[in-house]
């Protein structure tokens, strides 16, 4: 079960990794200090709130023999949080090579450890769509609409989908925002909805809504 003790453990790891990153930078000028800012952003208030929401609504649906593909996993915070709920196989997929370097340190003491694949998440899922039993993304707004369509069209009917997106236009990397949870459910081509909902979040440029849909 995900608790405040788990959250403290996650924050402690983030602080330790950040400190090590800064220490390493003193001896290697190629080390990118923006990574520390980026790592803090991945556990900011909104990130944790959205993932706690997901764990609360989807955690009980995950069986230990499930095989889960997380597209756009970033540093793997969701996989860390889900590990408190399930022993299922978790693959984190991200194009950013450094997410694996940091992410593997973040989940180092978890059992079983989530894995990393550094590639396009849509490609990874489509190549292995019959093997994965759960398709998850908390960053659907980052996936271009045509690629999102390919992803959902390829998904077998019995695969569980856990999808979050938002209607926050102010971030320029948001290429596929969803005005409502119904828009998201439609794009996910979900026939049997187990959960759908929206929550208000405070962004840098004002309030926005984050949506989540779970179903098959």
């Amino acid at each position: 079960m995900w608790t405040s003790m788990n959250l403290e453990s996650l924050y402690r790891k983030v602080l330790d990794i950040s400190q090590q990153h800064y220490t390493d930078s003193k001896y290697d000028e190629s080390i990118d200090l923006y990574r520390i800012q980026d790592l803090y952003d991945c556990v900011n208030h909104n990130q944790i709130k959205s993932k706690e929401w997901l764990v609360a609504e989807a955690g009980y649906l995950l069986a230990d023999d499930d095989k889960m593909c997380i597209i756009g996993a970033w540093y793997g915070v969701l996989s860390h949080m889900l590990r408190a709920e399930t022993k299922c196989l978790i693959d984190n997929i991200d194009m950013d090579p450094y997410t694996k370097v940091i992410g593997e340190r973040l989940v180092a003491d978890l059992n079983p450890q989530p894995s990393w694949y550094l590639m396009d998440g849509v490609d990874r899922y489509i190549e292995n769509k019959d093997w994965y039993t759960v398709l998850c993304s908390t960053s659907c707004e980052h996936i271009p609409p045509n690629r999102f369509f390919e992803l959902m069209k390829a998904r077998p009917d019995d695969t569980l989908v856990i999808a979050q997106s938002n209607n926050n236009e102010s971030e320029l990397e948001h290429l596929n925002i969803h005005e409502s949870v119904n828009d998201l459910a439609d794009q996910c081509m979900i026939c049997d909805i187990y959960y759908s909902g929206s929550k208000e979040f405070q962004g840098i440029n004002g309030k926005y809504e984050r949506h989540m849909v779970i179903g098959k």
Partner: protein
């Protein structure tokens, strides 16, 4: 010679493109004028539809991709500029990528602090030879979302990722907030741009 404008989203209108075309055509009568846009309505020049789903200024990087359909010398002009006089004397080099040197920043130490990832270049006027800068686009695509989080725009990306670039001579561009007398082009970069009764708010 290709003269290219990028118009994505609702902020800038066809009138901005058409006016710049009229202002620049006398100096580049044989050029191919191109507008790379998601909305060709009302644009009087050749339009090329978006090749990749990017937003706002990040679309300028697509011009360096091998898929961008142009040949030879290229000049990009931003839409928040006014042509004051003939800019050709300043735009004479097309390899490597040439940018504006941001005279309003380059001597201020705060813009050179490495871990601030700021920039002392400006991309309001770019010149390059098409298909000779594909490495810029390819590098961007290796880690697109991270770069868009790390840098506010393509100026920071190009400067901090340390591509081999050069600069146009000073005098190509004057920024309205800190004017440079006699410059060929006035830029409203980061300032509300009010032309043709349409105000485009800063950072639009």
């Amino acid at each position: 010679m290709n003269i290219i404008f990028v118009k994505e989203g609702p902020a800038y209108k066809a009138v901005h493109v058409n006016n710049l075309f009229k202002a620049l055509r006398p100096y580049y009568p044989d050029a191919r004028f191109i507008c790379y846009t998601d909305d060709p309505k009302g644009v009087d020049i050749e339009c090329i539809p978006l090749l990749y789903p990017l937003r706002k200024w990040w679309n300028k990087l697509v011009l360096f991709s091998k898929e961008f359909p142009a040949e030879g010398k290229c000049i990009l002009f931003d839409l928040d500029i006014k042509v004051v006089r003939d800019p050709r004397e300043y735009i004479t080099n097309f390899h490597p990528l040439h940018t504006v040197s941001a005279y309003w920043k380059r001597d201020l130490p705060k813009y050179r602090i490495p871990h601030a990832f700021n920039t002392i270049i400006n991309s309001s006027v770019l010149s390059w030879t098409n298909h000779k800068q594909t490495h810029i686009w390819e590098h961007f695509n290796t880690n697109r979302d991270y770069f868009m989080r790390k840098y506010r725009g393509i100026d920071g990306f190009i400067y901090n990722e340390k591509f081999n670039i050069r600069h146009h001579e000073d005098g190509i561009l004057s920024r309205v907030e800190s004017p440079l007398e006699g410059a060929a082009i006035e830029s409203w970069n980061n300032v509300d741009f009010n032309e043709f009764g349409i105000t485009v708010q800063k950072s639009a």
